[in-house]
Symmetry: C2
Subunit: 669 residues, 2 copies
């Protein structure tokens, strides 16, 4: 009786409604392919742009982000370990550019001699990293469909800790972008001082680049952003190898400290508190570790194995660089520059290669670019986490949508905009942004590892060796928890309070969104087995008319085609208009009766709504149907001259219970 799939129909004269068409099978291959009765598959043709403007924007999209990718091609879009390392590890590896220095900056207040503690502290942090990496190895295997802190915490500890982890991570991803873009721009401006003045806009430019690059999809963003990561790795390992060889051969050149350092007296002794603070400062090294476990599904099968491999590679490379830098710094006796003009790595490179040599520049430039690209990890992590939260109904469902290239376009956009707001708000200053950073990550780590402890306890009868696994995760939870507290306290007044305020707000927001969606779902749910369609008689139809013209007749014709109970309503506010309308309606003599509502106070909405209210009392179960004649002009700039009334009416009726609004457009020409 009804169309079960798409064919060409031809009208049959005199048939009864519902069987008035004869199906004529004709090809429609250009736009749809028939898979089964009532099941069509759209071709890319249906997305062909219309009009000049449409074609132009489509061309722009194709140039910027490339051809569309079909969902079934998704597996091909996934990445292997080599690209995975570039996408998911650049944030973490980039930390090696400053982790050693962060430690040294804290302990140097106890005098240059105290810098000997750098290497032991490095080992301590690498130990925590080892624990985290090992723990996440377990997590990835336990949660092969993606096991970020949010999932682990919510499955094992409950929804609330899950949202806490999610809120902490979302905040941190946004900060990662803002901080690393700001840091990268700062690294560039120290080489090109002309970029200092417009640094906020340079930062926004890089964010836009990351936005577009990530809209191109996983494969291509890996292609684009992998190069700087590998250049950095080659350069830094070259530095370490050369330095190591010099140490072994005893040919290490002598080091000259930056000018400000000379003669600075120790401010305090090297106590436990200072060591803890140095440890906290260096633990910024662990940021970015999270991303891999969230993105397991981005990897080619075997997903868990590839993700695990990337995690180990990342940890190994990072630990090697971190220890190497700390070792060389200790061997050379490097002292951090109090004026922050020269980084520790630059001091090492300068001492080994000579200041201003091409190799020194290579180290500096590749570091600068890697710092910018560290943001790319957040662009991989944030949209994925947001999409999982969207699926779980804690965020709007838009976060689940994937664009032309299978990227989570909405999440990417939100991340880019928020990061840009931060860069603008903090005027591109790394110093102001850094204190907000790191707290979130360690909150998430703690929750994730606590969740894993519960996980092992639950599986205690199935998993051999659950005790030492739980113990390992417990150790990790305690370690990261302590770091979280130290970082939160040490950086509280500097800005961490903003994050510690924002996370509960985010939790509250996500919680309310989740509750709202769930309550709506419950309220809308139907029992499918007894969910028959409520029988309805043809509706009461009201057609507001201002005069008789083609648009009005068009609407009245539609109204009479859907119901026999049609009334035209004319609101009149002056006597001339009233007389004219009455006379015209009589002269026309159409099959619809007219009700005139005289409006002594010239209001249109009030009388009409009161009249609808009154007709509503007839049968509250049956919605009143208002058919609006609408005139569609040929050009968009002619809109303000028309339909103001229809627009206002639609807005008012939309919020009215039990009212169906029908737009019958009349197009000119």
């Amino acid at each position: 009786m009804q169309s079960d799939d798409l064919r060409e129909y031809r009208p049959v004269r005199g048939g009864r409604p519902g069987d008035r068409y004869v199906k004529v099978v004709e090809p429609y291959a250009a736009e749809f392919r028939r898979r089964a009765p009532g099941h069509l598959v759209a071709s890319e043709r249906v997305l062909a742009p219309e009009g000049g403007l449409g074609r132009l924007t489509d061309l722009l999209r194709r140039v910027l982000i490339g051809r569309r990718i079909a969902t079934e091609k998704e597996a091909q879009e996934r990445i292997g370990p080599v690209k995975g390392l570039a996408v998911f590890a650049s944030d973490n590896i980039s930390s090696s550019a400053y982790a050693t220095e962060e430690i040294m900056r804290v302990i140097v207040v106890a005098g240059a001699g105290a810098l000997a503690a750098t290497l032991p502290l490095t080992f301590a942090i690498v130990a925590v990293l080892l624990i985290v990496v090992t723990s996440y190895q377990q997590t990835i295997r336990a949660y092969p469909s993606g096991g970020g802190s949010y999932i682990v915490a919510s499955e094992n500890l409950g929804a609330f800790p899950g949202l806490m982890a999610a809120g902490a991570l979302l905040t941190d991803y946004v900060l990662t972008v803002a901080v690393s873009v700001a840091a990268g721009v700062a690294a560039l401006t120290s080489i090109f001082p002309g970029l200092y003045e417009p640094r906020v806009w340079v930062g926004i430019g890089f964010i836009a680049l990351l936005w577009v690059g990530n809209l191109r999809g996983l494969q291509e963003s890996a292609n684009i952003f992998a190069v700087p990561t590998y250049i950095y790795l080659v350069a830094i390992f070259g530095l370490l190898a050369y330095g190591g060889w010099l140490v072994v051969t005893g040919g290490l050149p002598s080091y000259t400290a930056p000018p400000d350092v000379v003669g600075a007296a120790p401010l305090q002794g090297l106590g436990l508190l200072l060591l803890l603070r140095a440890f906290a400062a260096g633990s910024v090294a662990l940021t970015g570790t999270e991303a891999v476990s969230n993105g397991v599904q981005a990897f080619r099968p075997p997903e868990a194995r590839n993700a695990g491999l990337v995690l180990i590679l990342m940890g190994g490379l990072f630990a090697t660089i971190f220890i190497g830098i700390s070792f060389l710094a200790s061997q050379l006796g490097v002292i951090p520059d109090p004026s922050e003009q020269e980084t520790v790595i630059s001091q090492i490179a300068r001492t080994l290669f000579g200041a201003g040599t091409p190799l020194h520049y290579l180290i500096q430039l590749s570091t600068a670019f890697l710092l910018i690209l560290a943001a790319n990890t957040a662009f991989a992590g944030f949209p994925r986490l947001a999409s999982i939260l969207g699926k779980d109904r804690f965020l709007p469902r838009q976060f689940q949508y994937r664009g032309d290239r299978l990227a989570y376009s909405f999440g990417i956009m939100v991340l880019a905009v928020l990061a840009a707001v931060l860069v603008i708000g903090f005027r591109g200053s790394v110093t102001n942004l850094i204190p907000l950073y790191t707290v979130g990550v360690f909150i998430a780590f703690t929750l994730s590892q606590s969740g894993m402890v519960v996980h092992w306890w639950r599986l205690r009868n199935e998993v051999r060796g659950w005790r030492w696994r739980a113990a390992l995760n417990g150790l990790g939870a305690v370690a990261t928890g302590v770091v979280a507290i130290i970082v939160g306290v040490a950086k509280f007044a500097l800005g961490a309070w903003m994050v510690l305020l924002l996370i509960p707000l985010l939790i509250g927001l996500m919680w309310s969104i989740g509750r709202h969606y769930r309550s709506v779902e419950l309220a809308l749910a139907v029992d499918l087995s007894t969910g028959a369609l409520p029988r309805r008689v043809a509706p009461r139809v009201l057609v507001p008319v201002s005069r008789i013209d083609r648009a009005t007749l068009n609407a009245l014709a539609f109204a009479t085609s859907i119901s026999a109970d049609v009334t035209a309503v004319h609101v009149s506010n002056d006597a001339d208009d009233l007389a004219r309308m009455k006379e015209e309606w009589e002269r026309w003599g159409g099959p619809v009766s007219l009700v005139i509502l005289e409006s002594p106070y010239r209001a249109l909405m009030g009388p009409l709504l009161a009249y609808i209210d009154a007709t509503d009392r007839v049968d509250p179960a049956q919605p009143t149907t208002v058919v609006l004649p609408e005139f569609v002009p040929s050009h968009i700039w002619e809109y303000p001259l028309h339909n103001q009334t229809a627009l206002r009416l639609k807005l008012r009726l939309f919020f009215r219970r039990n009212t169906v609004v029908v737009d019958v457009p009349y197009h000119l020409g």
Copy 2:
């Protein structure tokens, strides 16, 4: 068969569509009064506000602008000559505060002796005023329903000259508000220097006051704004009478010129050019004359007589003051202050009453307030002219709407906003605004009087003495035309160019709006005698569904109630969703068939629109009807979490030819 008026109905079970209700007559007096079958009159009750916010805004409106006034009470809202003088003459009469001075400022460059020419020039300008007033007396009688320059010019000279007059006047009304508010604020800031810094905001405040005052309607705005006009008249006539008595009795005190004047040598001789320029400067005195003839319908019957009386009163009062001031200035030998610190009137008042005496202050304060209220004339003139243009379709029809108090609310708003923009744009500076002024008025005068010449020529066989009437108007046209040219040239570089550029733009805009409305009207027009309703079979209905829930079932129930040809369409972009939907639909087993559109590129709009296109080929005359299930959450802030898809779909479909969109809202709770 259908409801012919508003009654209570009761559904009858088993009846056929269309006669399924039994009418039960019940009173509905609270909201509607029945005047005739199918003709109801709404009571004020239908405008009762809903909800807390609605009641609050309603209360605010009542406090600010007063109770609503019914259209039939309009005659009572009209005004007599006394209030008419305050409303329509304050602009013109306020010119007497500076007209003498403007003349003197020009001729003083020929030396203090040349100031003797002030009185003759005053007589010349009064002669032009006499011509204009006489001419408008004729106009008012010839066009008793309102005879502004626009009407006279367009009826006698054609649509284009009419629009030119309209454009010139609209521009000038806006400038009147901006200039007189700025001048009034300047007069106040010279007494209260603390107001100088926030003078722009003081000006905006006065504009807001005028806005609200005029929304209160004609009667009340006259009540509010009449007082300063009459205080000014009493004060200035007191000054003239006292001065005249002193001249007659020979007791005129001796005058001391402002300090800067002493010893200033004449810069040039008193040639014809200078006299013409002085004449042009003084002719600012004629601004505001136009308003009465535009507002004839604002007067109590006999409208034309009352309006004519006001025009004569205005001309007489103004001429007396103008001549009186010029006479006293000549008698005293007043010289305008080059530093613009003290006005000529202030010099006269100071000399006669003594500087700083209460009478001197009275003259100054009443002048300041009258200058602000001169704007009120424009608030009476602009909205009326715009409403006439709206009626003639040269401006959007919103300009015709009259608000709660019968004021043209939209025109009043537009005038207030434009004037505020000018005051802000020119930073409240009279000096910068003045050169834009006056050109428009004289263009309108010239067109109006030329129109009257044609008018008399047309009626040459009916009207006795048409020759001298036409000659008088011809003289006026030449005089005002010459003034228009002189003013335009003299002030061109100072800012008149903006007006001379704006007027053609306005003409173009109004012309295009008029052409657009007329072409639409033609395209939509139907021959009522043969304009039968096109017969339509029940529509093809498509219902986009995302899942089966109450909102969907609600929409499907409505769809099946209006047509037997209903197809549900589900766009699916992943395999899980597809399988779930198929399974649910089968389990439900409702009477509607489902078409699944698989979208490999995850787009929703494209496949749906392509499918609608395809079904459209069935019968292009019959619109495709898309029924949209829409979920309406309980709170407005929950909106962003829902209906994003429906919203986008509506937007796209609205611009699509031949598509009827039906919104079926489902309200929770």
